[in-house]
Symmetry: C2
Subunit: 202 residues, 2 copies
Amino acid sequence: MLLCDIGNTSYHFLDGETDYKKDRLSFDPSTIKEDIHYICVNPKIKTILKNLPNWIDLSTKLDMSKYYETMGVDRMVASEAIENGIIIDAGSAVTVDVVKDGLFQGGFIYPGLNAMSKTYKDISSALDYPFNFDLDLNTLPKNSTDAISYGYLKTLYCEVISHDMNIVLTGGDAKEFAKIFPDAKVNESLIFKGMKKLLQNR
Amino acid sequence: MLLCDIGNTSYHFLDGETDYKKDRLSFDPSTIKEDIHYICVNPKIKTILKNLPNWIDLSTKLDMSKYYETMGVDRMVASEAIENGIIIDAGSAVTVDVVKDGLFQGGFIYPGLNAMSKTYKDISSALDYPFNFDLDLNTLPKNSTDAISYGYLKTLYCEVISHDMNIVLTGGDAKEFAKIFPDAKVNESLIFKGMKKLLQNR
């Protein structure tokens, strides 16, 4: 069984137990000939895939009444994967979604690592530092690297822990964010777990 | 007495009781002939002003040992203006600084309104919404506008209120942020208060 989660930067495949990524801009989906179940947040790619009969859109299996109209399908599918908890999907954007008793409670969107790094740099060259994921979240910063790292990470941390729920970390930057959320469970294949659940529900 | 706070986007003047702004790119500082005390975070403008003898750099009056080397001089001067509290300076960047018994305790830097709006838009056209400063911070969002607004504002809110201190709001977007921090005191001339204090300390 071939699964694919298409985000804003890449195609993420799961082939049996093996996962791999292909760049969104250079990968040609028509090179895949076998049946493949996918979800896709990119409108342009979605249009292309509609003309490829072996690419099967799994979002049609979702009960959309549980979510909201403009919500990213990747967030919906990740929410299907857990019964209770707060999901942090750290990719181009960091999406944070709360699920209670299998029901989506709402969520929010925070900039991803690369996007936020560029934001600080664009405000001023004086803020062009890499983020320090090892910073002490309990101490107010007195240097520039930590001042932006704390601005990016401690604010997110404060909001997330205020929910007092189990945290599941997924997405390309999950391991970086695990330094900030040491009690979180990292599950890089959460979205595939949600996709498999939707396939079983047919 | 003429004062000027030069930021990343504009010259902000105080002439007696009247304040006004001039665009950083189009204003020519040599057109001012009287003595003017200034602070400046822009390295290029600082170099220009060094050659204008009537432009007097107030940052030389600061006790730099209270702060850190790469800290923006505007943050230092704002910190001089209060004895106790947390200062939110909402400009190109949102700087958050804690002062206890007249001593700077540390602080952090968060993206300003325009910068963060661009960040979301650049991640995906699906996130190109204006921020809703009237959103309910106690409810997890179930629509796109609130999902990014909550991501930007609730995270900041959670961190700031965790300090349990009086909040002083300043900077060009102070009034917008006052909707999120209803108990904060808005003081748009906080930096000029700090500058006047430095002048008195001579």
